[in-house]
Symmetry: C3
Subunit: 371 residues, 3 copies
Amino acid sequence: MSLPPPNLIANARKAMAVLAHRDTPFIFNEWYVAAFGNEVTRQLLSRTLLGKRVVLYRSESGQAVALEDRCAHRSYPLSRGHLEGDVLVCGYHGFRYDTQGELINVPSQHNCPRGIGVREYPLFEQGLLLWIWLGDPALLGTRQPPRLDWIEMPDWECSSGYFHHPGNYVSMHENLMDLTHLSFLHASTIGTPDYASAPYELDLKEGHYKLMRNVVPTTLSPVWGKTTGLDGVNTAARIATSEFLSPALHQVSVTFYDSALVPDNRPEFHIRTAHILTPKTQGSLHYFIVHGRDFALDDKAIGEFMHEQLFAAFNEDVEGLGALESVIQEANEDSYEISVASDAPAIAMRRYLKKRADAEADEKLIATDRP
Amino acid sequence: MSLPPPNLIANARKAMAVLAHRDTPFIFNEWYVAAFGNEVTRQLLSRTLLGKRVVLYRSESGQAVALEDRCAHRSYPLSRGHLEGDVLVCGYHGFRYDTQGELINVPSQHNCPRGIGVREYPLFEQGLLLWIWLGDPALLGTRQPPRLDWIEMPDWECSSGYFHHPGNYVSMHENLMDLTHLSFLHASTIGTPDYASAPYELDLKEGHYKLMRNVVPTTLSPVWGKTTGLDGVNTAARIATSEFLSPALHQVSVTFYDSALVPDNRPEFHIRTAHILTPKTQGSLHYFIVHGRDFALDDKAIGEFMHEQLFAAFNEDVEGLGALESVIQEANEDSYEISVASDAPAIAMRRYLKKRADAEADEKLIATDRP
Amino acid sequence: MSLPPPNLIANARKAMAVLAHRDTPFIFNEWYVAAFGNEVTRQLLSRTLLGKRVVLYRSESGQAVALEDRCAHRSYPLSRGHLEGDVLVCGYHGFRYDTQGELINVPSQHNCPRGIGVREYPLFEQGLLLWIWLGDPALLGTRQPPRLDWIEMPDWECSSGYFHHPGNYVSMHENLMDLTHLSFLHASTIGTPDYASAPYELDLKEGHYKLMRNVVPTTLSPVWGKTTGLDGVNTAARIATSEFLSPALHQVSVTFYDSALVPDNRPEFHIRTAHILTPKTQGSLHYFIVHGRDFALDDKAIGEFMHEQLFAAFNEDVEGLGALESVIQEANEDSYEISVASDAPAIAMRRYLKKRADAEADEKLIATDRP
């Protein structure tokens, strides 16, 4: 064919105009994960989050601290300095900052100028995760970091990993909302051919987009089959829920069982994966992953097998979406996307992200613009 | 000196304004070589041509297929998918396309939306070469791919090669139109000192620019001398014709003989080189080369020697014009070029390329702008 | 803290508006060092200076020559050509230039067009250094290259080095004007903790900014202590003068002695360092260094030890300011700098650089704009 009919393209472009994409400005007024807690130590850690340079460290009492990674004097990266107790000393001219980012000493003079400093970013540590507020300080209390109780539960076993992902966070959210890709992108790892066409239900609330897919009966790929004992069973069930919980977090919850057994008297196996997305730049992403299971808790071999298999699959996302990024970063006025029925939750989610970004732009609430 | 006089610079800039250069838009309504035919197989091949991503493969019957390398759904590179018979399956969500680029199946739903698809690019295979039409589909019949009969003739022996050239196609055409550079850029390979100052004749028709140079008497560089038996003969003749045949093709034809012998009773040796230029981006080029000779047809050693020597020389073009590219990509309003008499065919050619590009822009005939 | 008060930020930005920074246009009407003299030989040397491509070589008589590194014909880098005696032959089509940059031969034709050529840049060689004038030829006589007499004096021993510095020249000048950074950036090499807070005097004249710092009593870091014999003496004196001499040159002069001895009867040791800055691009710099001492003249081991220690320290500047560059190249309208008392000479110097750059822009005196 030459091209789809002009009205179809025109409609596609019109539809896209209200959806977030690679170049949509970041949403700052939200909690994001800055790091796994154990990455933040007495060594200064430099990390770019939503385009902002941040330096992270722990005070002597163990409290995590996040400051703007740029000395107020001549913009030197504070992460190249050192700690003296809780005080961060700039590595260039020795300006000293306390844990609130306030300038408390200038070595070349007796009196320290007052009211000078760098931004301190509020943090919230939960389990493995260190959340950060990069938004308007005045709106700090208006949102809470999402709570992932299972990460801390004793009857759940967790495993975690990190990818420096060469793609944008909107595409990754969309990837996660539309798991029909399991049959293709993950054909050789976690997917099965019947996944893409399985029936699903939607529950789309503003800011919380949920899709529940029932793959029954099915066979399980080895990562699930071998670890649950359902390997080779052709009446297996795979009930998967994908949930967009915030711009920073997508959760996948899956239940496995043998559908040939009666509901009240069959073992059920649960897994959950927190896909934690913190944009670094418009085209790159800190991709933190925490995966948990409520079975084979003490079986280290199963834990390692599952981790290896899953992260091989997540690496397929990273490679595939990295390749996608190279296409969409060249997008121009001729580009368009065609959506189908299974895109409904992703479309709703992208409309929401766009709305949030627009709202911040309109109200000029982005923290850096506010004194 | 400080600088040439202002009026000279002003005139030079004025003259350049009507000539194609590095940043002139591509000419789409033309046949270009997409690949050597043997590069296109049942493995998906991704290639950027005139800034467009194209995926190439062969159907089960052996027919070459070229489609836009971007799924209509979410822009995933189709070249990362796989073939099922003649059907190209996207590697992300499994959208299926036929060889015309028409979407024929969406795995997540029963009914496939109609009228959706990606662009199919017409192909024409001749001998070693696979030509592609990236232009306006409505203008497909208005131009023909240049015919290089000698590539297919049994009494010609051919050899081919490819460079991913780090320079623009206009500079390469100009390089080929002005072979006085043989005495300098190719001083140690195919050139001789007398080449630059040899007499020449011009035949400049709109869209077909021809220069015939008579280097007589001369000595031949080893690549020709050793292979024709004229090595060491100081009455050799080298009659070279450079022809711009299309934006995609320049042909060089040379006849060698001993000028001390009578015309009717002397052996003559012919070579031809097709310099096939397919812009990849404004600053890079797929540079395909086919070289043929009508002598020493069965002598494999001579064939290999000639190939090695010639491609060493073409590599000098690639390195030299790559260095040139780094200068001209920094060109600004202060830049200018001074032309001399031997630039006449190149100037005519660049004026023609500019005119073609302008015409496409004016008429908005560039295919991507037309539904 | 969130951020400094809005009026403080507003004032900081206002103050910065009149200061040179990374993106301030270059000052062309000034002498810069193009190379160490011994870098320029009969081999063509290509070097980008203030954004201009220059080719450097020596004539047969040993005279250094600097020409625009771009053939007037088709912009080929002349540095890829070769010398025939004093004549530079372009490596593309063999255009020949004399040492004044005048085109004297075009191989493809009998008559050479007149009045064509490339810019010749005036040079001045002094001691180790080859100075170049890239500015308006009409203003050549209005400024003199700074004279560094000690480089040529027999009772001084010199050592030199070069860094391709990944940062801008304004930041490097500022670094050199504010040596309070010795206590921090150079804490482990040439700095001591008391350096930053030592008393200083200023002498700020238009275009010549001088700061004299008296670090008395102090102890000397090994590079000075071990080489002067004052190692371990806790009554040492370190009297350091930092001088901005031109956009191209900053000089540091230091006197060491034992302050416990009477002035007339104590040995004094002097060192000088010429920090020679020639911008390459807005974000990179040719950083030439010449260091001299008037003691231990014949002690090769001391010379090598001092060179090694000093260049380790200069490398700290290169690394640190390279890291700084990556921050300030991302500067936007939200960025600001807060200055303190010890910044006075740097501020004066940056105001002067800005004024010079503005003057060139206003008067359109940049040489490239003048025929």
